[in-house]
Subunit: 230 residues, 2 copies
Amino acid sequence: MSRGVDSGNAVVLVSGGLDSATVLAMARAEGWICHALSFDYGQRHKAELEAARRVAEAGGAETHRVVNLGLGEIGGSALTDAGIDVPEAGGEGIPVTYVPARNTVFLAVALGLAEVTGATDIFIGVNAVDYSGYPDCRPAFIAAFEQLANLATKAGVEGAHFRVHAPLIELSKADIIRRGTELGVDYSLTVTCYQADEGGRACGRCDACELRREGFRAAGLPDATRYIPG
Amino acid sequence: MSRGVDSGNAVVLVSGGLDSATVLAMARAEGWICHALSFDYGQRHKAELEAARRVAEAGGAETHRVVNLGLGEIGGSALTDAGIDVPEAGGEGIPVTYVPARNTVFLAVALGLAEVTGATDIFIGVNAVDYSGYPDCRPAFIAAFEQLANLATKAGVEGAHFRVHAPLIELSKADIIRRGTELGVDYSLTVTCYQADEGGRACGRCDACELRREGFRAAGLPDATRYIPG
């Protein structure tokens, strides 16, 4: 994997999915010492956390933490609430898989880890093109979080300037896959499917699977995804 | 307890301490239907969570949730890191008991609960006078979070305007105690001490105990705190 000059410490949100694996590779290519951060937030797909561990290690993260978040106590999303079915592809508007305030919570915890590790840079794999239905994936949200971070923290009070890097925000899924492939990302390690089995194999039918498969197709690259047979 | 006309749903952060018990009483007096939210974030003083349950019930909260947050995985504070001693009173600057990005994380989760309950109002007991060392207790931080909330959420996208109420922010501890006493708050239910024992009795020596005792003294009211003998 290509490497620049070390730029200092950064916190990288690593979900175990395709996007954040690419972000980690991009951050490492820029020379950041990367502290990977994943969340166990009651998501149904625990296979993602196993994938996050593999991705963090293969991607050269300096440290990797999994923080438990009891968002299931709050509910309101098909990803954490067992009473709501995961939809198949094709819906419109804000998807039912939306987790209330998810990226706000994730960035808030990342900000805490940034303070502890002396980092002022946070990397997140949000993407405004494919997931335009999620309000917390938009550039205006990211900019507002940077403002908040500067006011929320000891480092900010002392003059540090926090930056939230969202390098995928304007990229298509195909662009992301092409960029990651150039940087040597092994996408067979990643899990995107909302209904992956325990071994991390994908259902091939949900929104996330469809977007991912279409991404490989549009990139003109072989789909490394492992699917559940049938 | 006095009651106004119901104003709709609100999320109220309830820690089990004196400040948030007062905030809950203030929100109820304004007529809000209050959804109390507490956090189990690896704090040493589990007695606070028992106090939070009592405060939420006695204070007339409609619901009460305790969300688990694994902030201990991140560390960096005497309140969550067993390797750092809790200081006694008298330090200067930002205290070692500062939890990285704590109020940012708490408000982020509160925002998620607001979305689920259809609330756009969040009450938090931050106080800029006594805790001036904490950057995330300042009015500018609260205002920045409101901006973020409007951009982060489905409701915000649809035109709702989030408001973070911090009614204690400019009050002295004595003012808070006087206001709560007028509203009928039973402060013997609350736990403030960073080192309270399992029964919720206070050490009487830490920063938090000293501020609290001085508050009752300045308010000219009897100190309802239960202290550990000796």
